[in-house]
Amino acid sequence: MLFISATVTFVGLLVIFTALLIIAERFLTNYGVCKIDINAGARVLEVEGGQSLLASLIQSKVFIPSACGGHGTCGHCKVTAQSGAGPVLPTEVTYLTRKEIRTGMRLACQVKVRRDVAIKIPEDLLNVKMFSAIVKNTRDVTHDIKELRFQVQDNGGISHRPGQYVQIQAPSPEGPVFRAYSISSPTFEKNIIELNVRIVPGGIASPYLHSLKENDPVVFTGPYGEFRLNEDPAVEIICVGGGCGMAPMKNIIYSLYHTWPLRSCWLFFGCRTTRDVFYLDEYKDLANQHPDLKVVYALSDPLPKEQVWDGERGFIHLSVDKKLVPGVKRQAFLCGPPPMIDAVTQVLIEKGLSPGDIFYDKF
């Protein structure tokens, strides 16, 4: 009898507390319908209040780049909030510079929509769409890098600029997440998206992408990226890549020679050993057709005795320093690990490039 009364009392109390909390939640977390104004009226969305700004935007098919799935750990989903976003939260401070905070920049995943909000985002992002595709073919290009070609299923394909990237949706234990990969297929192949994916053991997206087979479906959003190729044919293009930072270079070079067959271009690519070298034969073929393409591959690790290598040796910024003469009008695109980007940027500035003409993608 005592046990029954004890159980009934305790459970009864719990039920009462839960009911009270549910009622309180109804009143406290109900924000009604809120308006999100993008770029001063370019688009106005009506969303259910109470969610994060990022989730509300994605729901309304405005795709802001985000790699961490809204956990506030990647710092990619920056938007400029003009009104209604509330104070900057401690979770955002580490990802925003003081200047960005002054201009009202916020992380969309941390801002909760509680009232009408006005935001500003780069015009390009309004053109970002979600695409579905199937895997056309896959190929191992080195021991750890796979080339994946996707056939875009949507009508009209995808139009992108060289050097842009897409965000692939990958399954994770906490629901789908997006990871950014640069497009390596040239811009004139409207129905193809090609990626170079290096496997990261224990990662989320790269093991998933490496496990894909022909005809598997994939979903991605894009295109993203600020890089704009200089349209002046007199400007020389410098591409510097390292590790697996090849994808945007391939896109830029093939797109470039499709439009300007006589344009001058340098490709510098840094690897550790000969087994990390890929696409060298393709570039040699291309250079035979277009003599203004100069291809330089460099190995940074010492070469084993039995191997032969006729390319450059040492870190890639040394090759850049050696091969380029100063005083030519140039635009540069860099992709690779941060120390490489920093070293190459310094060399390029010494060669007379202005920092505004150097674009980079650090990872």
Partner: protein
């Protein structure tokens, strides 16, 4: 204990029998949330409200339900359930009306469920046989006492931030020393009022 006025208990709980500095209850929040004035004042107010109201609710449930049904051995579980539900409510309330404070407190807000001050206040109220009026004074007093200690600590830590203490004292060392000195200072008031 029937004769002590509730107001005196309120006063005593804040100054002479400060639950934090004389019983050392609620230390984890005290050390973690006294880094800035905003969190110290914010959590202090939340603590005052939660401690005050949960002791009152616990009093009503204890003498209205638990004692008549002879379920005194369930006291701890019931008190924790009340505190948990109440903290949930405070969390929702703060998220709606002060998101800045909500994010500044971070994990320490839901962790109030296991805060010793709140639980201790409810248990002392039972062991000391307080009346309802005395309970009210005691509950709010205990919370306000915690807030007083946390705000003093935040001010001292703010000042210590500009000081240049010797290496081994930096950070946690200095904080613990300050907490000890504060407890000794408050010990000077002990015995002025008897509320036990």
């Amino acid at each position: 204990m029937k004769n002590t006025p509730a107001l005196l208990i309120l006063f005593a709980a804040i100054f002479t029998n400060n639950i934090l500095l004389s019983n050392f209850l609620g230390m984890c929040h005290f050390l973690a949330c006294s880094r800035t004035m905003l969190t110290a004042v914010g959590l202090g107010m939340a603590m005052t409200v939660v401690t005050g109201l949960t002791t009152m609710i616990n009093y009503a449930i204890y003498y209205g339900i638990v004692v008549p049904l002879h379920l005194e051995y369930l006291m701890f579980m019931i008190f924790i359930a009340v505190i948990a539900a109440f903290v949930q409510f405070v969390e929702m309330f703060l998220e709606r009306f002060s998101s800045k404070l909500y994010y500044a407190l971070g994990i320490y807000l839901p962790l109030m469920v296991v805060n010793c001050t709140i639980m201790g206040a409810s248990l002392f109220m039972i062991y000391r046989n307080y009346t309802f009026a005395q309970t009210t004074g005691w509950g709010f007093g205990a919370g306000a006492g915690w807030m007083l200690a946390a705000v003093l600590m935040a001010a001292l830590r703010l000042k210590a931030g500009y000081a240049n203490p010797p290496g081994p004292f930096r950070g946690a060392g200095l904080t613990m020393t300050i907490a000890g000195l504060m407890a000794m200072t408050f010990m000077g008031f002990a015995g002025m009022v008897s509320i036990e």
